[in-house]
């Protein structure tokens, strides 16, 4: 930002004026510094928790770094695990624009996976270039219908979306178990009931030159697209208005109902796509592994990113790194497998409690600098 005449007139400290570049930076810094501080506070609380367990926090975090981010190999593992988290987080972040707290993304992930696994047989004769997009469409559609229904119930029936989405996640998991153990079961899957394995050309492969499947790229693109939608289009703008004040939006003639159903359905489509990618890139068929908690970790990712789709990308990678390292950490430090959920819980609580800090620090509010 150029220094203007007015800035010069402010005296020896031009950048301290409320519209200088430093002021612009300070305004933006609040949304980065506070979540980062809360993240560190959460990690510190978990460190104290480890101390009470007679374990070394330093060793823990060193192992997490090594197994999650230390080598190219561990980076590839982390990025592969980030793919479903990116998409599941969008299922929380998109409805959040309208002020909705949708936490049942797990259901959409599961049904997206089942839709892909169940339809894969019908597409087995198609070439990958046609079959894969169709599978992705099926997965996305299943998720869109599931979470879009939550939005419709919210708008047309006044049903609380938080509870409804979570109940529907339980129903989705029951549906999956029914389908995978019943009508869609591959008789050849003995120990772990699954749908029939996907045909080779319907599997999602790795990106060139690395051991990371294409799902990661899809997730990143989805985040960028969601950011464009929210920040650069009239729909995103309308959604933000409706999220701030529904009545005002209705008075303005905004189609609140369509916005709510559209954004929830879009979020659900992302989560459904995550399930499809898990099936096509990781498991090779739909089975109970789909209910692996991506939907729940996605909630944490979205809240940590303050529902900003671009911020979801680094946050999802960070949390994927934690999950990628959990196996090594458990073995080396003799910790139970619930260690990472405990860590996530501490971070989550810290991040939400930090909401109270916004607007408290003068350093982030250039208008109030002069008063110092």
């Amino acid at each position: 930002m150029a220094i203007t005449d007015r800035d010069m007139g402010a005296g020896l400290r031009p950048s301290l004026s409320p519209d200088g570049w430093l002021a612009a930076l300070a305004r933006r810094a609040e949304a980065v510094v506070i979540p980062l501080g809360a993240l560190l506070a959460g990690l510190a609380m978990f460190g104290l928790f480890l101390l009470t367990q007679g374990k070394s926090p330093a060793e823990f975090y060193a192992l997490v770094y090594k197994a999650g981010f230390g080598t190219w190999f561990s980076w590839q593992n982390t990025l592969s695990r980030a793919a479903p988290l990116l998409l599941a987080a969008l299922c929380v972040a998109l409805p959040a624009r309208l002020g909705l707290v949708v936490i049942g993304g797990e259901g959409a992930v599961v049904l997206g996976g089942v839709a892909a696994g169940g339809l894969a047989g019908a597409f087995a004769g198609l070439p990958g270039g046609v079959g894969l997009p169709l599978l992705a469409l099926a997965g996305g559609l299943a998720g869109a219908v599931w979470i879009g229904a939550v939005g419709a119930l919210r708008h047309y029936r006044g049903v609380n979306e938080t509870i409804a989405s979570l109940l529907m996640a339980y129903i989705a998991i029951a549906l999956m178990n029914h389908l995978v153990e019943g009508p869609l079961r591959d008789p050849a899957s003995l120990n772990k009931p699954s749908t029939a394995p996907l045909a080779e050309q319907l599997r999602i492969g790795d990106m060139p030159g690395m051991d990371v499947h294409w799902g990661f790229a899809v997730g990143v693109l989805a985040c960028i697209a969601a950011w464009v939608l929210i920040d650069r289009t009239t729909w995103g703008f309308a959604a933000r208005i409706a999220g701030g004040n529904v009545r005002a939006a209705q008075v303005q003639g905004l189609p609140v109902g369509r916005l709510i159903v559209g954004f929830t359905a879009l979020g659900g489509a992302c989560a459904g796509l995550a399930g499809m990618i898990e099936v096509a890139a990781v498991h090779g068929s739909a089975n109970a592994s789909l209910a692996g908690g991506f939907g729940y970790t996605g909630i944490l990712v979205a809240f940590l990113a303050r529902h900003n789709p671009l911020a979801i990308i680094p946050v999802a990678i960070l949390l994927a790194g934690f999950e990628a390292s959990s196996g090594l950490v458990q073995r080396r430090m003799d910790l139970p497998d619930a260690t990472v959920p405990v860590l996530q819980g501490f971070v989550f609580v810290a991040i939400l409690a930090s909401e109270t800090l916004y607007g408290r620090f003068r350093v982030f509010a250039p208008e109030r600098w002069r008063a110092a």
Partner: protein, 308 residues
């Protein structure tokens, strides 16, 4: 064969017995949620509290050899979770729904973390009263083995109803729940009362969890809860924030939850997983039927964020 004697009557009998057995955790969690919500806050974290209560109750019962000590420990653990929720939500701009979600995940994580060593050992059970002593059929007897906690839950429901209706404490909670401004004008401190109500609500949820691990199903494992803590939120709405109605709603939910196992016990295994989803479908259906897009719900505390 006793099945031959009872025939198809075995199904309603199994559902009745199951309803009594399955409803108790619903009853306790929903009473806890009700107490919290009447003070104007919602605690979505009771699912985590329930699971942690199940773990801590089982662990303490195993270590001390006394099931009732386990129940007390679960109540204490639950009130700590409630206290944390209450204190955090007293900070300005902190959202009670979001904190509830976080505490749900933290509570389950901590329960699984500390519960690992207690999956194998066998803890003492809570005692049951054989109300079916008069019957000859062992199935009838089994169905009517009623746990003491179920009876305590009924007493608690009546006591809460009386408290909200006729006591000073009940009135204070209702005032705080209906209007923060009115409460302040009366010289009350809404944050303190809400925090205490949430802590007490957490204790109820903890006891509900202890019932799961100490009586039915009667063991501790990571799949012990099937969302009772979440369904309780919908159950309280359905019961219109009335403790007595909570009891009947809990019986109804318990019956829905017992449908799958009851059908399985007479040999119907087709679509088992779909029957397993019955309580969730019922909850959702009731939620849809009792919500309205235009008006606030009758009986809802005025400060409650989910009904505004």
């Amino acid at each position: 064969m006793m099945e031959g004697d009872l025939g198809l009557w075995a199904i309603p009998l199994a559902i009745l017995g199951g309803a009594i057995r399955v409803s108790t955790p619903f009853l306790f969690v929903s009473l806890g949620e009700l107490l919290t919500e009447r003070s104007g806050r919602i605690n979505l974290g009771l699912e985590g509290t329930l699971v942690f209560g199940a773990m801590s109750g089982y662990a303490v019962a195993y270590l001390t050899g006394s099931a009732w000590t386990g129940v007390l420990a679960a109540a204490a653990a639950g009130s700590v979770f409630g206290l944390v929720h209450g204190v955090l939500c007293s900070l300005p701009r902190v959202n009670d729904i979001a904190i509830g979600i976080a505490l749900m995940l933290l509570g389950m994580g901590l329960a699984f973390y500390f519960g690992k060593p207690f999956i194998q050992p066998v803890a003492p059970d809570l005692p049951a009263i054989p109300l079916g002593w008069w019957a000859e059929s062992p199935q009838v007897q089994a169905s009517l083995r009623v746990n003491v906690l179920f009876l305590i839950g009924i007493v608690a429901a009546v006591a809460l109803w009386w408290m909200f209706r006729a006591t000073r404490v009940g009135l204070l909670i209702r005032v705080v729940g209906d209007s923060t401004d009115a409460a302040r004008a009366m010289g009350l401190r809404p944050a303190v009362i809400r925090t205490l109500a949430t802590a007490a609500g957490g204790a109820f949820a903890g006891v509900g969890g202890a019932y799961l691990s100490l009586f039915y199903p009667g063991s501790w494992n990571e799949g012990i809860s099937s969302g009772q803590g979440l369904m309780a939120v919908a159950l309280v709405i359905f019961a219109r924030w009335n403790p007595i109605a909570c009891f009947w709603a809990a019986i109804l939910f318990g019956g829905a939850g017992a449908l799958g196992p009851a059908l399985q016990s007479v040999g119907v295994s087709e679509g088992y997983y779909l029957f397993y989803a019955a309580p969730y479908v019922l909850t959702l259906a009731l939620l849809i039927a009792t919500s309205s897009p235009t008006r606030a719900m009758t009986g809802a505390p005025g400060e409650l964020s989910i009904t505004k």
